[in-house]
Symmetry: C2
Amino acid sequence: MTDTGAPSASGRARITIREVASAAGVSVATASKALNERGRMMPETRQRVQDAARNLGFRPNAMAKALVHKRSFTLGLLTNDTYGRFTLPVAAGLSAAMADRGVSVFLCAIDDDPERARLNLEAMEDKQVDGLVMAGKRIDRALPIQFTALHMPLVHVNAACPEGGIGFVPDDEGGAHLATAHLVALGRRRIAHVTGPGGFAAVHLREAGWRRALAEASLAPPGEALLGEWSERFGYETGQRLFAAGGEQPDAVFCGNDQIARGLIDALTLQGLRVPEDVAVVGFDNWGLFAEATRPPLTSVDMEFKALGREAGLTLLDGIDGRTVAPGIRRRPCRLVVRRSCGGET
Amino acid sequence: MTDTGAPSASGRARITIREVASAAGVSVATASKALNERGRMMPETRQRVQDAARNLGFRPNAMAKALVHKRSFTLGLLTNDTYGRFTLPVAAGLSAAMADRGVSVFLCAIDDDPERARLNLEAMEDKQVDGLVMAGKRIDRALPIQFTALHMPLVHVNAACPEGGIGFVPDDEGGAHLATAHLVALGRRRIAHVTGPGGFAAVHLREAGWRRALAEASLAPPGEALLGEWSERFGYETGQRLFAAGGEQPDAVFCGNDQIARGLIDALTLQGLRVPEDVAVVGFDNWGLFAEATRPPLTSVDMEFKALGREAGLTLLDGIDGRTVAPGIRRRPCRLVVRRSCGGET
């Protein structure tokens, strides 16, 4: 596992700086200075070495790069999302954007355990990562970490962000507005809202987006938002209750997540109501396999976590490179994924 | 971001080797030799330095450790599972077991893109990781990688393993046997099997486990295994077909995955059949939120990916430490998670 001459992943023997120097007709020390853009030499010499390195496919090894640049070209991703529904797309977007820039990402799964968090942070300090991404499960909870003790660039994704920090979260209000405005545009007039527990900031933001879209269309909510649980069971029971009553019933329901939407659709189907003909339904999360398996497939709001991970990583690199990054929360737009349950698929 | 004297994650200023040397009354060079267990010195001196280091909470920095041990104390995890249902528990089990041993894990998401795989492998070589874990989506497909060109210890998890390699996969046959034997023990006698496409090795292994459990109980299969898709739709349509026919119907169905089981249960419910009273149902995957949301909650086979990730990591460390590791595939036991759909929950 030495670096010199071992075949690389692409199957060629790995090129050493010695070979570059020899091809360019200079000493190893000169080749090193030319490649690191340090020290004085003739521009032609520098160019000749750089051409030779490029032609031979020379890649400096990471430890040498770290010593020269005082950077390790590594980041840590800390997450308490063991289920992974939120963090996995963040990790995929981050990892792809970083790989394209020669930066590798350590995955640190800390559950919600402060001791495991401490252990992983010490490991990240030992590995001298250039910065950290903290990814959570909800926008109103911080990871179990003493941020004040961390002396390296940090960004937060889908988690609470301490005063003065840099955070990236989905625009829940905007996403809910998108979903509700789409139902309005399809001609629905009595659009109910069934959602999760009031202890979540996202619940209130999504409710606000629903209200704003209705107000813009001069529509009254057909009732208060129905707060409960993030579960199919709650969606199912609420669907039974909401449509069992006599009187004027909703012609659409905007649900706070895909599980609620799915339970609600199942309750409507068992009551003989047709989705979307009688009642249009839209969810939130766009949880792939789940939204596609609903009968009919579920229109849903995607929080674009992959883009959030990519953007958080690029912003972190800016901070590591010494560029000024303004503190504060960035709310990034959601995207509506139209399937059959809203009646708007063309 | 220099290492000396910067506060650590635990809030204390980071201890330097200079302070350890001073506390022990020796030179920095002697302290270094004592801590690295190299060079000759009085055992009392070595002990005094080690005691001072422990008392002060000294942790050698990673680069120094790497230079001494010729190891980077890092691993790479390559995965083509962007959806993450399989890889995430593998990553969590691996990351936790490695963190406990001071080893950090790089996450490399390569989709199914050979170019992205090459880019990530080159990054892992540049970072001089000590070894690699390759985690896939199915036991009969390799990742898009030229394994012959990799010159470092490797293990494969839930993926095809090249000749002479070391692989960890769930015991699909054993898991299916567990599920079917459980239904037999509950008194079911006509146990059907509805599963995924014949192109998957797992389909044939699970069918074999179903047949073995029936044979052991001297029961005949009520018909051939019904192969189709890994989808709710297939489960739903098969449930309609299987129970619409007259004649003697199955009193239990062992399904090849949780999605099929869920679709099948929905079809039975709409036909007025009760689960588990009329028909017991068991799934495969134990995909948490999904299995719990089924009405009734789904009994399912868990492939124990977290344990698989942990064990793969420990085996990889053995290889890195120069211990002999026998090549070949390790099939690890699955676990039956009993919920209400099989009628066996106590």
